[in-house]
């Protein structure tokens, strides 16, 4: 095989090596370093550099270089390079403004109408001149390098935009939750006895949903439903909400409108979570169909509705009301247990007990229910009670 043929084969292999390196899964800088070695190894250049054009800063950045003095590379002006033929190698001695000490060939890198950077090479170690064939090969290589740089630049731009979008999304989410909290505060402010009730129902419901294995998106949805479940009370008079004496049938009918009003308000909001409207609408339904507003029963009630219903009642029982003192936790749990199957769901009750038991035993990193309960509660007694309920309900659930 003659030398020319061998050289042609070597160059072809180098192109294949370049293709392999620039399409590898390596990190960008490793990829460019390997590509740079392929180029310097192909042309026997002892010095070289790949420069990338930063469109924002309007300057050239050295991606990789060998043998050149950084200050010399900084003398290159992107505007002057961009005026040269796209991806066409030019001999530095022919273009005085390209003079970089030690550089012999410079290739401006372009993709379509976009100036991407530049490739510089010194003379060959063998002192042989660059042949027209060398320059043709360099033109092909430059095109490949330009495409790689452009892809990376697009990827970086996309990553930056994605990061910015995520930041904006998080900011909007914070604002969204802030608005919901303001709503909840407005609801709770109407009734001196239900301060932070919406906030607690949101937390309890989320804690139960998490224990049930819901995904984070759906947990956030029930959290929001918890915040808004009583939003319809904004349309009920303060006098009625704060009435100490028993309600007349008319007053009771009026106050019961709040869940439908909550639904009307909630439907005006385009929630990213499913069933929020359903959960706020039916949080006063019962399993036996004796609840309101629609007297739905059993299968018509979603898990979300059953969770909010239980969380709402548990908080109502353990909070002071105008017409009664607050119940202690043991009494509230016993009351909820008495109403299983008629009003509340066994499975959800079991999960509530498990969460509370875990919180008492310090098994959950961020307790959601326990911090809101009476500080004077005897946790040993509550824990024993919970263990009993859990055992009993687990057995019933297994049998079912």
């Amino acid at each position: 095989m003659n030398t020319e043929l061998k050289k042609a084969l070597y160059n072809l292999t180098a192109l294949a090596d370049l293709g392999q390196e620039i399409t590898s899964e390596s990190a960008f800088h490793k990829k460019m370093q390997a590509a740079f070695y392929v180029i310097t190894g192909t042309f026997l250049a002892s010095r070289g550099a790949i420069l990338s054009y930063d469109r924002t800063a309007k300057k050239l950045e050295t991606l990789t270089s060998k043998g050149f003095i950084p200050a010399d590379l900084e003398q290159l002006h992107p505007e002057e390079l961009a005026a040269l033929e796209k991806n066409e190698p030019c001999l530095v001695k022919d273009v005085p403004f390209l003079a970089v000490v030690g550089a012999e060939v410079l290739v401006p890198l372009w993709v379509r109408d976009q100036f991407i950077g530049a490739l510089l090479l010194s003379g060959k170690l063998t002192a042989d001149p660059y042949t027209p064939e060398d320059l043709e090969l360099l033109n092909i290589i430059a095109t490949q390098i330009a495409i790689t740089l452009n892809h990376h630049s697009l990827f970086v731009d996309l990553s930056d935009k994605l990061e910015e979008n995520q930041r904006l999304y998080e900011e909007m989410r914070r604002i969204y939750h802030g608005t919901l909290q303001a709503f909840a505060a407005a609801i709770d402010a109407k009734d001196a006895y239900t301060q932070n009730h919406s906030h607690r129902v949101a937390k309890y419901s989320a804690a139960i949903a998490r224990e049930l294995g819901w995904n984070e998106h759906d947990i956030e949805g029930i959290y929001v439903a918890g915040y808004l479940h009583d939003v319809g009370k904004l349309a009920i008079s303060n006098e009625l909400l704060n009435k100490v004496t028993p309600f007349t049938p008319e007053e009771l009918a009026e106050i019961r409108k709040h869940s439908t009003l909550s639904h009307h308000i909630a439907t005006k909001i385009n929630f990213p979570w499913k069933n929020v409207e359903d959960m706020v609408w039916h949080h006063h339904e019962r399993l036996d169909g004796k609840g309101y507003p629609d007297a739905l029963a059993r299968d018509a009630l979603s898990d979300g509705v059953r969770i909010i219903t239980l969380a709402d009642s548990f908080d109502a029982m353990t909070s002071k009301r105008p017409y009664r003192e607050k119940m202690d936790v043991q009494t509230a749990l016993a009351e909820l247990k008495n109403c299983l199957d008629s009003q509340f769901d066994q499975k959800i009750m079991l999960v509530l007990c498990r969460v509370l038991d875990k919180e008492i035993k310090g098994e959950l990193p961020e307790p959601e229910i326990l911090p809101n309960l009476d500080k004077n509660s005897d946790l040993t007694v509550i824990s024993a009670l919970l263990e009993g309920i859990i055992e009993e309900l687990s057995a019933t659930q297994s049998a079912a």
Binding site: Y10, T13, A14, G41, L125
Partner: protein
């Protein structure tokens, strides 16, 4: 079959460093060859023998790395000897015109004898 990971060992014989690259010299792991030589050059060693008995193949990346060692030695007026080269390696170096810039011996002991004679 995936080629074995490239590795380098070395030893000092008199005032010459003997470098043993092992594996296909075709990717960034070959930088260890440059680093190994750089350590000796940094210690003032100007004579380097690269024994290629366990490196049959080289590509443009390997050539680039070898150029770097040759350039570094040239800058300190040092000598690079290459020994135990496969036919492929020798043909590649010859085709690229690199043989004029290194001293080639069939075996390592010849290179050591040559460098020793240079000292005396």
């Amino acid at each position: 079959m995936k080629p074995a990971q490239f590795s380098v060992t070395s030893k000092l014989v008199g005032d010459a460093a003997i470098i043993y690259p092992k594996g296909y010299l075709n990717n960034l792991s070959g930088e260890s060859l440059v680093n190994e030589c750089g350590i000796y050059i940094g210690r003032g060693i100007t004579k380097i023998v690269v024994n290629f008995s366990e490196t049959d193949l080289i590509n443009s990346i390997g050539i680039s790395l070898l150029l770097q060692i040759m350039e570094d030695l040239r800058n300190i007026r040092g000598t690079i000897c290459c020994t135990n080269m496969s036919k492929f390696l020798r043909d590649t170096f010859e085709m690229l015109g690199l043989l004029q810039h290194m001293v080639v011996f069939p075996v390592e002991s010849d290179a050591i004898a040559y460098l020793k004679a240079q000292t005396t």
